[in-house]
């Protein structure tokens, strides 16, 4: 009989590693409806009808973050048959805090006590039997990374789910809190039953002052008064407020359990080692140079050495196949138009999108290493101060930095950010970091127009991008993302060697996701643009590029760009082709002006004045990200409309800034 298991635990508890061990590669990654919170699902190896849902890593079931709310909703509304709660045994006190809240839900539950090998190796011990008794649920020691104890865990979980064994204990409270919870439980029993939530859980949340629960239970005014009265009494007696009282009650019970079941002689070796490593990696002076060095190395390896090599190899293969196909089509004598569509449109489109692939694979290999080793948390610690002015946390720093290389992996990297708000805002700011595909455009224009100040203009462009990012960040902080800032209260987990399997699965997941999009959305857009570029309105193949549908459209909308200094159809058409990939702007200029590499600069100076050229560069810097980046935005934000809004917003910002530069510049240079 099919059963659903919810896998849940604190961040850094080894949850993802355990999920990978349980499901192998039978995973499906998506989002929870309506929010950009990742939902992974998979079936257990050897038990195909047992579905495991990997819920976001959270510390508590409070109603403050999208992750916590999603988890609560899933547990209450989807009613999984069993909860598998994974704990980091080296950090058992804080991990048990979530466990105690989960138990109150009354769902059959087992605890997976991870990292027991580390606890034992350091001479400490946890009495699993006693822990299980104190919690009233089965506890199975495991080592997720070494794949130990997983079979026992799953057998127990399946048994508990089949026999529907609820937690044997729920009352972890004493004294005043106990009294309050029980009187409230009595009061709201019917309400809780109506919406199918455990009375105990509902009562505790009400005592805690959980607004979401008050709304869901549809508590009437009279009951609210009684609730307020009960809570007042409790607060009076305890000399503290409701939230602190409940947190304190849980931690007191945890202390009680730990005295009973845990014997700790000292910190684990891994923890002591981490403190030593951090003497260097978060050192007052060395930490920032080390971080810059690590990121520079990753960029160099991703874009030049490994990524570059793989890209060349892939390009070589695609070129070979294209030539072969070209010959075959010629021999077959296929219609020349279809021939051109296949070779120039489809094949070169496939080539363009796949050229991203090696980069994504290599980049995510390194990013997973950073994340899984625990270093990413240190980066957040070191860099937090720089980003908080925009309402962000240090965790957004690395994705933004990757944006200077390529927006596609940068946007995909926002997945690992701890909060939904951070993710959204970071995704919106990444396009302002000038990506490396824009470099050929900068190089072409600066060589043609600003030969003596090439470096200055390039640096200037990067700075304008960053400044605009900062400006927009401020704007968003006070408009779109107004309200409660995301708490930056984050664990610094012990450094650990990343599990190769997890790194590979993560890499594979990102690469596969990209390939799927590449062959649907991205290839589609590329082919459509090729068709527009090659045909005129009577669907004849054009001989002069100026007659194509695209050039005609370019000429129509060109007047819109006249106030920016570049109202020529060539400039506008080149910008449109830049949507497939930014470097296409350069080749489009060559095609549209009929110039070769040597004469292209001269041809451009026919179209642009130096000021207009600079306005054009600023426009390319800021306007809509390429189709690959937009499809990544669509995937991460989970809505095509939001992706379109990003395109429109970026293009609008680009227009305004280029307009200001050209108009204000005209005052000075004329």
């Amino acid at each position: 009989m099919a059963k659903t298991f919810a896998l849940i635990g604190n961040p850094n508890s080894g949850k993802t590693t355990l999920f990978n061990q349980i499901t192998g590669s039978n995973q499906h990654v998506g989002n929870f409806p309506g929010v950009t919170v990742e939902k992974k699902e998979g079936s257990m190896k050897k038990h195909e009808d047992m579905i495991v849902v990997d819920l976001p890593g959270i510390y508590s079931l409070s109603p403050y973050s999208a992750e916590e709310v999603v988890t609560r909703d899933f547990l209450i509304k989807e009613k999984p048959d069993c909860v598998i709660d994974i704990l980091d045994a080296t950090n058992i006190e804080r991990n048990l805090y979530l466990t105690l809240q989960l138990i109150e839900l009354g769902i059959p539950m087992v605890v997976a006590l991870n990292l027991m090998d580390e606890v034992r190796a350091s001479g400490n011990s946890i009495d699993v039997q006693k822990l299980s008794q104190d919690l009233g649920i089965p506890v199975i020691p495991i080592s997720a990374s070494k794949n130990e104890g997983i079979d026992e865990l799953l057998q127990k979980a399946i048994a508990v789910a089949m026999q529907k064994i609820p937690p044997q204990k729920m009352d972890f409270c004493t004294g005043e809190v106990h009294r309050a919870i029980h009187s409230i439980a009595h009061l709201i029993e019917d309400h809780a039953q109506n919406i199918g939530v455990s009375t105990r859980f509902a009562a505790t949340k009400l005592v805690e002052g959980d607004d979401l629960m008050i709304r869901e239970l549809q508590i009437n005014e009279n009951e609210k008064d009684i609730l307020g009265h009960v809570v007042d009494e409790m607060e009076q007696a305890l000399q503290t407020d409701r939230e602190a009282a409940l947190a304190d009650m849980r931690y007191q019970y945890i202390d009680h359990i730990c005295r009973d079941a845990v014997s700790r002689k000292g910190e684990t070796k891994e923890h002591l080692r981490s403190v030593q490593i951090d003497r260097i990696l978060t050192h007052q002076i060395f930490s920032i140079p080390i971080f810059i060095g690590i990121m520079a190395l990753i960029f160099w390896l991703s874009f030049n050495v490994i990524g570059g090599f793989l890209s060349d190899l892939l390009a070589y293969g695609i070129d070979g196949l294209t030539l072969l196909l070209d010959d075959l089509l010629s021999v077959y004598g296929i219609n020349p138009w279809v021939h051109a569509l296949i070779i120039e449109g489809v094949c070169s489109g496939v080539g363009t999108v796949l050229s991203f692939l090696p980069l994504i694979v290599v980049m995510f290999f390194f990013l997973s290493l950073l994340e899984d080793s625990g270093y990413m948390a240190r980066v957040a610690f070191v860099m937090d101060k720089l980003l908080r002015k925009f309402g962000l946390t240090g965790r957004s720093f690395v994705p933004m930095l990757i944006g200077f290389g390529c927006s596609v992996p940068a946007i995909m990297a926002t997945r690992t950010l701890a909060s939904e708000k951070d993710r959204k805002m970071t995704i919106l700011l990444i396009p302002f970091m000038s990506c490396s595909a824009k470099l050929p455009i900068y190089a072409l224009f600066t060589a043609a127009f600003f030969e003596s100040h090439q470096a200055l203009v390039m640096v200037g462009l990067y700075l304008i991008g960053i400044l605009m990012g900062i400006l927009v960040g401020f704007l968003f902080k006070h408009s779109l993302f107004k309200g409660n800032p995301v708490p930056f209260v984050m664990e610094l987990p012990s450094y650990r060697l990343p599990a190769l399997k997890s790194v590979l699965i993560h890499m594979w997941e990102k690469a596969w996701g990209f390939v799927v999009r590449a062959f649907t959305v991205i290839l589609g857009a590329t082919v459509i643009l090729w068709i527009l570029q090659s045909l005129d309105f009577r669907l004849n193949v054009v001989t002069a590029s100026a007659d194509s549908i695209l050039a005609t459209i370019g000429a129509w909308i060109a007047p819109l760009f006249a106030p920016l200094g570049f109202g020529s159809w060539e400039a506008v058409t080149a910008l449109i082709t830049g949507f497939t990939a930014k470097e296409a702007v350069v080749s489009s200029f060559a095609v549209l002006t009929g110039a070769d590499a040597a004469s292209l600069g001269a041809a451009l100076s026919q179209i642009f004045s130096p000021l207009a050229a600079f306005a054009f560069l600023v426009f390319t810097l800021l306007y809509t990200p390429c189709v690959a980046a937009i499809s990544a935005v669509r995937h991460e934000l989970g809505s095509i409309w939001k992706a379109i809004a990003v395109m429109a917003f970026q293009t609008g910002v680009a227009w305004v800034v280029a307009f200001l530069i050209y108009q204000i510049g005209s005052w000075f240079f004329l």
């Binding site: 409070s62 070191v382 937090d384 101060k385 708490p487 984050m490």
Partner: protein, 92 residues
């Protein structure tokens, strides 16, 4: 009052015992959830290179939080002092 100071004032390498956690909403709740409850001993490990946030050690794990949040956490020096202060509250 006795020697109570806020957590951001505790010198690096020194310990404090939490008396109360102030503030409100999501941040306060997160602090409590992470185990910063009254009576908990906290060691201030270090300050980030840019002067903020700070790293503390409690309940056998490392936690980072911002100075502005640390300001809202009142601590005293020792657990004995904590007990003395708390028992004083109850007598009133």
């Amino acid at each position: 009052m006795q020697n109570t100071i806020s957590l951001d004032k505790v010198k690096i390498g020194h310990k404090g015992v939490i008396l109360s956690v102030g503030g409100e909403g999501a941040i306060r709740r997160r602090l409590l959830d992470m185990g910063l409850t009254p009576g908990t001993e906290v060691l201030v490990r270090k300050i980030a290179p840019l002067g903020d946030p700070i790293e503390v050690f409690l309940r056998s794990y490392e936690l980072t939080l911002r100075q502005e949040d640390a300001k809202k956490i009142q601590v005293c020096e020792t657990i004995e002092e904590y007990r003395r202060i708390k028992s004083g509250f109850h007598k009133k």
